[in-house]
């Protein structure tokens, strides 16, 4: 576990223990059994503190974790889980967006098409990746690669990590809404299975655009939301500082969304979050994907129909009967 990550506001309590531990660990190598014992004790209390902090996170705290600068990105998972990944570039129309990466790889002895949203880490990379906010050509690249996957009968795994699609003038001019809509329609039409994994931030149309999976997975501390909590707060609370309330009200965390039937599986994270142990996080993702794969591979499903039914039933509503209200749902 890497304890040298940027600590978030709500992890403030860790700093003292960590500092003490760092001092002890320096002494540990040449110190006697006393020092080792004490170091072990402090280590245990660090782990304890971390476990307690992460036992009961608020949705807003998860929003902050999902945006943690050291949180593993799509390409970090690719490096670990898909070592033979061949990146394929371009939308064949306009450009090669850095905020969406895609290509071919092998997983569980099967060829798969990967598509994922990619944030940067350095300033330079953030510019290349547009801070993980895809341009229209990114969605068009994703759509093209998904169609290629459909043509060659390859399952698709998509990784979602975006604060939203890019929404500047050029994006409007190149039809960001159109690109997202086409992406959705293409996924709806595909006869291959799609597994979507929300790995960190899944915000708004920019997230659902590539997340129309037959199975939708989320990392434990990832968030998935109709809109960024800040934007929700600013509109409904008329106060951007109400973002934590907005995050709570919109139920953006994985466990809540599983409860609501909006996602299919929560992938656990190591204690202290994926960014404290990216290796273990990748193993958990791998294990979950393997399970999903054995599920998918064994079924001779009509994935198009399966996907239709999957999304067809999302929504909660009631039917008004004879003037009196009867609780029901929207299925027919």
């Amino acid at each position: 576990m890497n304890r040298h990550v940027t600590e978030l506001e709500f992890e403030r309590g860790l700093a003292d223990i960590r500092t003490a531990l760092e001092r002890l660990e320096k002494a540990e190598a040449k110190g006697g059994p006393d020092v080792v014992a004490q170091a072990n004790k402090v280590r245990a209390s660090y782990d304890q503190a971390l476990t307690e902090i992460y036992r009961d996170l608020t949705p807003w705290q998860r929003v902050l974790i999902s945006r943690h600068p050291q949180r593993p990105r799509f390409l970090d998972y690719v490096a670990t889980l898909f070592p033979d990944f061949i990146e394929l570039h371009g939308d064949r129309h306009f450009g090669d967006d850095g905020a969406i990466v895609g290509g071919l790889a092998t997983f569980a002895d099967r060829s798969v098409m990967l598509v994922g949203e990619q944030k940067g880490r350095s300033t330079k990379e953030n510019i290349t990746r547009n801070f993980g906010m895809p341009h229209p050509e990114g969605y068009r690249k994703a759509e093209r690669l998904m169609r290629t996957a459909g043509k060659f009968d390859l399952p698709i795994i998509s990784f979602i990590d975006t604060s939203g699609a890019s929404a500047l003038q050029d994006d409007e001019a190149r039809g960001v809404s159109w690109a997202i809509a086409e992406c959705l329609k293409t996924q709806a039409n595909l006869h291959v299975p799609i597994i979507a994994v929300v790995i960190s931030e899944g915000m708004s149309g920019g997230a659902i655009a590539i997340a129309m999976g037959n199975r939708v997975l989320m990392l434990e501390h990832a968030v998935y939301s109709v809109i960024a909590p800040e934007a929700c707060a600013s509109q409904l609370w008329r106060d951007v500082s109400a973002a934590p309330e907005a995050a709570a009200a919109m139920q953006v965390s994985a466990s809540q969304l599983l409860q609501l039937g909006l996602i299919d599986r929560v992938i656990p994270e190591p204690i202290g979050g994926a960014h404290r142990d990216p290796e273990v996080a990748a193993q958990y993702v791998q294990a979950a994907l393997r399970e999903e794969f054995s599920l998918l591979a064994n079924e001779g499903l009509d994935w198009t129909t399966h996907r239709y039914e999957h999304y067809r039933h999302l929504g909660r509503m009631e039917l008004l009967m004879d003037g009196s209200q009867t609780t029901g749902n929207g299925r027919h």
């Binding site: 939203g164 409007e172 809509a181 149309g205 809109i227 907005a246 919109m250 067809r312 999302l314």
Partner: protein, 308 residues
Amino acid sequence: MDFLRRARGERFRPVEQQALEQLPDDVWHKCLGCRELLYEKDFEANLHVCPRCGHHHRLTVSQRIESLADPGTFAETDHELRSLDPLGFTIRDRRYLDRLREAEESAGVPEAVVSGTASLDGRPISLAVMVMEYLGGAVGSVAGEKITRTVERACDEQRALIIVSQSGGMRMHEGLFSLMQMAKSSAALARLERAHLPYISIIADQTYGGATASWVALGDIIIAEPGARVGFSGPRVLQAIKIRLPEETQKAEFMLQHGMVDLIIPRPQLRATVSALLRHLTSHCSARKAAPAPKRRRITVRSTEARE
């Protein structure tokens, strides 16, 4: 009828009720485009388009339906669907369910989508019209469900699909349920596409967010009304993320110029255009009906001699 207040989306009542309350000082209306005073009867007859500057004022949902459907053919569907509050959403003790009740009262309709079947110059259509007056046309479970059912009804009953959109975006009060309506409706439209049935998407003023990025953009033909504001992030979202777009960006004319929209049609010509388009896009149906399709066979029309 207090037209000005209604046009700003502050208040809306069904046409019948308005007629009862009509007072003499309401017969003139000030155009929102050129500030000209317009005589109400002319204004109504011109479908709320200013005869002087061409400004397209908002139509009520019943006026919109009347402007497209053959008289007396509109049969509303799914009127009984009502939103729930799946998240128990409250804003400073103000409950979403209360907000819904207020919206219904002020808009005069119980949802942001009114849907039904009708005919247009005799051709069967499945029609959905969005209602800006109801929570700013924000899309939640019921709006998404009604759009989806309208698409499915087109599939199942071999109707052409027409959706008139105007929407502020997704309804945040229903969280991810709202976002999923994009996927749900797009999946239905993919089915419609596979059935080769035509879909004409009509953009009225102020169409943003999830609606734009799903059913609005997926029309076989996309028509916008002149001057209609249309785009991805609505003005309030842009404000929240501190982005200012140049004035002309999110406009029908900008979208036409950038290849996203097929046509900009002034409202008085809209019905005739939609009718003509439907005639073309359904012409193969009548051709098929008229004569059963002959079996396909391989022949070469031209002499192979001429070719080499």
